[in-house]
């Protein structure tokens, strides 16, 4: 019997569950501490035990091999670097596996995505329908046997969709709308001023009060994962810039860290400092854009212009370095594209006191504004259980009292040597998330100050690199502006990735809105949606 104090998931696997295969792995290279392959009927027990021991479901995906599918689950813990991987083998004939959506709520959307892209069915899933592709699509694109649509049938398929829509392609609502009762359905989006992109939220309303709401995604699906399978690793850099275009440096960072970990190389020290400098500047720019649009949703038109004004100053600096304003491809494996010009550091030094003064202005005009407080206090509560079940990360999680930041808990680059706090607030409402992001901007300024003092001279490239990423499976995650961005890479040792899964933070964060919506008014829905800070293309990939 296990000793009561050693309540740890590895021992539980070895003693209680008895997996088919069990392998300890090196977290520094592969990102996980162990990998367990279990039969299908034991996945629910495993999930229950993980939930009981406070792990969240970080990623759920599938890999298409010749003999069978591998359905891969990654579980991770807050405040402790303890990620592990559980796999199930699904034969191609059977094509089914049990669903864990009753245990982990985030699995609902993850499993729908796996069904959509691979065709694997999940038994007992409440709502197994497509999530990223149109509902009438007939392809399973991430299968290796899918070699692309016949010579571009984009127009034909699009005309078909237009025709379906025109013929009254009706969504079957759960409840009959022909009865004369007081509730009705309202569609927010996909074209709506406040959905920050093409998101659709189907609201079931009674008067102005929401009974429940369901986000419907997929309107921005740009097939990143399939594209990256037929390109080589270097050609995948532009994809990383376009996933979350507002905070693209962190995604560059994530990809660079993942591949460098896999190849086993370390970039020169100057590169690390420049990477952190540009990433933190980009984080501030991303939070500024969020703040402007969030307040625009609430009806305050002016902060949008002030935030964009500050953001333009940061964009000037980053454009001086990278040549781009928005979708950066600045990092390379083991280095950077080019060095920073000499004029950049004085510009950063000049920017910082101006920006600190602006932050004080925002504090006085927004944080202390009584109308703003009334609109945001006590609204959109994210409880700890909900956050765990949905796998929420980033400022949304830190607004609910859990101080989890990958820069501190799974450190990469030079973050262990830098001194910064992790702002956390316990209420879990819209105001808490707003407050966390404003304080994060100040912390980023602190980091930038330290970096520009300590930045060493040196080269910015490693020169020759290993030709290929070695064969194996790797998971690595960084802290992007919206949460933890993870990459699960299956490399077969050739020039192209075999399977690359992008675990984006907004996907899980948006999923958690399903719990926050019931009971809100329509105005509140907009405020809650804005406070989560989503970027649609990174959800739909």
């Amino acid at each position: 019997m296990p000793i009561a104090a050693e309540k740890n998931i590895k021992n539980w696997f070895l003693e209680t569950l008895k997996p088919d295969e069990f392998a300890e792995k090196d977290p520094k290279k592969t990102g996980i501490s162990f990998e367990a392959i279990i039969p299908q009927n034991k996945i629910r027990d495993a999930a229950k035990e993980y939930l009981a021991q406070d792990y969240f479901l970080e990623s759920l995906t599938a890999v298409d091999f010749a003999e069978c599918f591998e359905v891969v689950y990654h579980f991770s813990k807050w405040n402790a670097l303890d990620r592990s991987c559980v796999k199930i083998l699904v034969t191609k004939e059977e094509n089914k596996t049990p669903s864990i959506s009753s245990i982990y709520k985030s699995a609902n959307w993850f499993e729908r995505e796996v069904y959509d892209l691979f065709g694997i069915q999940f038994i007992d899933h409440p709502n197994l329908k497509r999530i990223l592709l149109p509902e009438s699509a007939e392809i399973f694109p991430l299968l290796k046997s899918f070699k692309g649509e016949p010579a571009g049938s984009d127009v034909t398929q699009s005309m078909k969709l237009i025709g379906e829509d025109a013929e009254g392609f009706e969504i079957t609502y759960p409840k009959s709308v022909t009865e004369h009762n007081k509730d009705y359905y309202l569609n927010l989006g996909p074209q709506h001023p406040s959905t920050h992109g093409v998101l659709r939220v189907l609201l079931h309303l009674s008067g102005e009060r929401v009974l429940d709401g369901e986000p419907i995604i997929g309107y921005s699906h740009r097939h990143h994962e399939k594209m990256m399978e037929i390109q080589n690793y270097l050609a995948c850099w532009p994809n990383m810039g376009r996933l979350d275009y507002v905070g693209a440096m962190s995604y560059n960072f994530g990809y660079a860290v993942a591949i460098e970990k896999a190849m086993g190389i370390t970039p020169p020290p100057r590169v690390e400092y420049i990477r952190v400098l540009t990433t933190e500047l980009n984080r501030i720019a991303s939070h500024l854009l969020w703040m402007g649009t969030f307040l625009l949703d609430l009806g305050a038109f002016t902060p949008f212009f002030y935030c964009f004004d500050d953001r333009e100053k940061i964009l000037d600096m980053l454009e001086m370095v990278t040549g781009e304003r928005l979708t950066y491809n600045y990092f390379r494996f083991g280095g950077l594209d080019k060095d920073i010009p000499a004029e950049m550091i004085p510009l950063v030094k000049q920017f910082m006191p101006e920006f600190k003064k602006r932050l004080r202005d925002y504090d006085a005009l927004i944080t202390k504004n009584v109308i703003f407080r009334h609109r945001t206090n006590g609204l959109g509560l994210l409880t700890r259980e909900s956050a765990l079940s949905y796998g929420v990360t980033g400022p949304c999680l830190r607004g609910s009292g859990i101080s989890f930041d990958l820069r501190r808990h799974e450190p990469y680059s030079i973050y262990p040597e830098l001194d910064f706090n992790i702002p956390t607030r316990t209420e879990g409402d819209v105001f808490a998330r707003y407050w966390v992001r404003t304080k994060e901007m100040e912390e980023s300024l602190k980091i930038i100050t330290q970096v520009i003092e300590k930045i060493p001279a040196g080269e910015v490239t490693l020169g020759k690199l290993p030709k290929n990423v070695p064969k194996g499976e790797y998971y690595s995650a960084v802290e992007a502006a919206r949460g933890s961005f993870g990459i699960y890479l299956v490399s077969d040792g050739t020039l192209n990735p075999y399977r690359i899964k992008l675990r984006t933070p907004s996907f899980s964060n948006l999923n958690s809105i399903i719990d926050m919506l019931p009971g809100c008014l329509v105005s509140d829905v907009i405020a809650v949606l804005g406070s989560i800070d989503i970027v649609l293309p990174e959800i739909d990939r």
């Binding site: 997996p19 300890e24 571009g152």
Partner: protein, 221 residues
């Protein structure tokens, strides 16, 4: 430049049409319709530094009934296509379309052989007046596009163009590196690294020694 009226009518309406075109050119109201990355540059174009409102272009209307210009900013995924067509149909004429960015022009960086998810250019379903290339185009490019549209309206030729490829779909015939599925058993054999043709370089900082994980497996039940 005056347009020729097709048949001489009883009342000569040349001048009225000119005046109306002048008014339309100077008062274009865009529809708030951002799809992806280019939407951020659209917002930046309306913000304080670039200020499209100077040209009369700043009143963004969220309802298609009140908008004149639809700026398609971003990649058009197939799921979104019927929505765009509906929005375009809802706009009252005279209406114009600006395709902002590479994706709305011709598919952009997301076009690869055998792509399954996007529509390669919005001109395949609705007529476009101005194309603004870039990924994403700078706000100055957007303003240049607006001024180009103004020129077109003042000149009277606002019939947008649709892609000539509409009948023939995408023409991307490049070879693509689709691979077949590999065998899982082969994949999981340890020591099966393909021989590295180049030695890993000596980096300036010491590399953490990478020990291969011991292939321990518990006795099967």
């Amino acid at each position: 430049m005056l347009t020729q009226s097709p048949a001489p009518g009883l009342v000569n309406l040349f001048k009225v049409e000119d005046v109306l075109n002048m008014a339309r050119a100077n008062s274009l109201w865009p529809l708030t319709f951002g799809l992806a990355c280019c939407a951020i540059e659209l917002m930046a174009g309306g913000a304080a530094r670039f200020d499209m409102d100077r040209f009369g272009f700043g009143v963004f209307r969220p309802s298609p009934r009140q908008a004149d210009v639809m700026i398609v900013a971003g990649t058009i995924s197939r799921k979104m296509v019927p929505c765009i067509k509906t929005l375009y149909d809802q706009m009252p004429s005279p209406k114009y379309v600006i395709a902002l960015g590479g994706c709305a022009t011709a598919g952009g960086p997301f076009k690869y052989p055998g792509q399954y998810g996007i529509l390669e250019g919005i001109d395949k379903i609705i007529p476009v007046n101005v194309y603004i290339p870039g990924c994403p185009p700078r706000p100055e490019a957007l303003i240049a596009g607006i001024l180009e549209l103004k020129k077109q309206i003042l000149a009277g030729n606002v019939q947008g163009v649709m892609s000539p490829a509409i009948a023939h779909d995408s023409q991307d015939n490049r070879p693509a590196e689709y691979k077949n599925a590999i065998s899982r058993a082969e994949f999981r054999q340890p020591k099966a690294d393909p021989p590295q043709t180049e030695k890993p370089p000596v980096p300036t900082a010491p590399v953490a020694p990478t020990t291969p994980p011991p292939p321990a497996s518990e006795p099967k039940n």
